[in-house]
Symmetry: C2
Subunit: 215 residues, 2 copies
DNA sequence: GGTGCGATGTATCGCCCCGATACATCGCAC
DNA sequence: GTGCGATGTATCGGGGCGATACATCGCACC
């Protein structure tokens, strides 16, 4: 999941670790707390070992760098490779079970501007299914276990159930928008937005779209 | 955090691993997915090594067990020790930074029926503070970065912001209820509910129910 | 009567991720 | 000129997870 996020950001522009962490924090701020360096640096090394990113020497436009008087440990700027771009596309499209949990869904959603519509729909519906299951579980507990659980625990379940219902409604709206072609499509994007058909208002696309539904 | 939950459940009654996992799932279903066995069993061993729980031999009322014809590997029932109860009380009352993140707060809240009012208020307010900080962060991003982020990413932030605002409101109500003595206090509890003052009835309690609201 | 299958049950392994910690430089306010 | 907060890279121990393995039990179905 982190791979996807890092590859996605590096596709927009080369960055060093610290910067990457900040960008990650604003892009995924709604999903999770800022990523730890204890996670980031090993991950960068792993991505580099896999050949998906490379170190791009610091010296940019300025040339004429300050000579390393002390044992200077400059920043390490990473950029994505061709293989990395392929990997990113692969990760974007593929959807395992982890694609639908809180973290996985959030990261995928954050890169929806670079995802094709069919995949967007597949992910949105997979997520909805998962949240619905969770919701049913909570409803069951609230219906059956009212005697066994104390008032605080029940209140916690109620709050959780409310959040589930809210998210399902949110997903429904997003799905409806995708189907009707009214998907949000704006803002900057490293690669041009993938759009397999222009917003079709009405006519042929009316009933069922091409989405493959849950396996 | 897991320690607290396990100790808390074992204080209600002795259990074996499988059962513990199920109880954990219903008690904390609103907070997190079911705990993995790859987490549970090592944790049980750790708690046992610390002297907070012990194995209680299977043989209950039935006596006269089936003799182990094969190399039988019966279930292992765990029960809490006196030290374990102390540890539980200690964990219940103490509040570090991890007490206020999603998981930590959820577990603490689930055991609020066995927490004294002062601690409940402290935790509720700590959580509120944390969610408010998160909310401000999201507001900032939405206010400042509208140009830099694509429509999907922004939608994600909006949804996250909405969840934060909702949780703050929920916490406000809970806090108000605690302060006014209308805290929920019902259902089973292994140890008698800690209550440093009886629910002051009458006058102020009039309007709403004893439960922290349900919209 | 047997056969298969899902629930019950315990356990380990590799890997990911986090918080704590350490260390170095830079800009700038006091 | 000195301290301090932001910038910046890095490691380490340990908790938690999914995958996997293996064994028993009750029961439906043939």
């Amino acid at each position: 999941m982190l791979d996807l996020a890092i590859l996605g950001l590096l596709q927009e522009s080369p960055m060093h670790g610290y910067e990457l962490r900040k960008e990650l924090a604003t892009k995924l701020g709604a999903i999770r707390a800022a990523i730890s360096y204890g996670t980031l640096y090993p991950t960068l090394r792993r991505l580099q070992a896999a050949g998906w990113i490379t170190e791009a020497g610091e010296a940019a436009a300025g040339a004429e760098e300050v000579p390393p008087l002390t044992t200077r440990r400059g920043r390490v700027v990473y950029k994505i490779t061709a293989e990395g771009k392929e990997r990113f596309a692969e990760l974007l499209a593929q959807a395992g079970p982890e694609t639908y949990d809180d973290a996985g869904f959030g990261v995928h959603f954050a890169f929806f501007a670079r995802t094709d519509r069919a995949t967007r729909l597949r992910i949105l519906e997979g997520r909805r299914r998962k949240v619905e299951e969770r919701r049913e579980g909570l409803r069951d507990v609230l219906a059956r276990a009212t005697e066994r659980l104390d008032a605080y625990t029940l209140e916690l379940q109620r709050h959780g159930l409310d959040a589930c219902e809210r998210e399902v409604r949110w997903l429904e709206e997003l799905i409806a928008n995708e189907r009707s072609g009214r998907a949000p499509e704006a803002g900057p994007s490293a690669s041009p937005p993938v759009e397999d058909s222009p917003p079709p208002p009405g006519s042929t696309t009316g009933s069922t779209t091409n989405l493959p539904e849950r396996p």
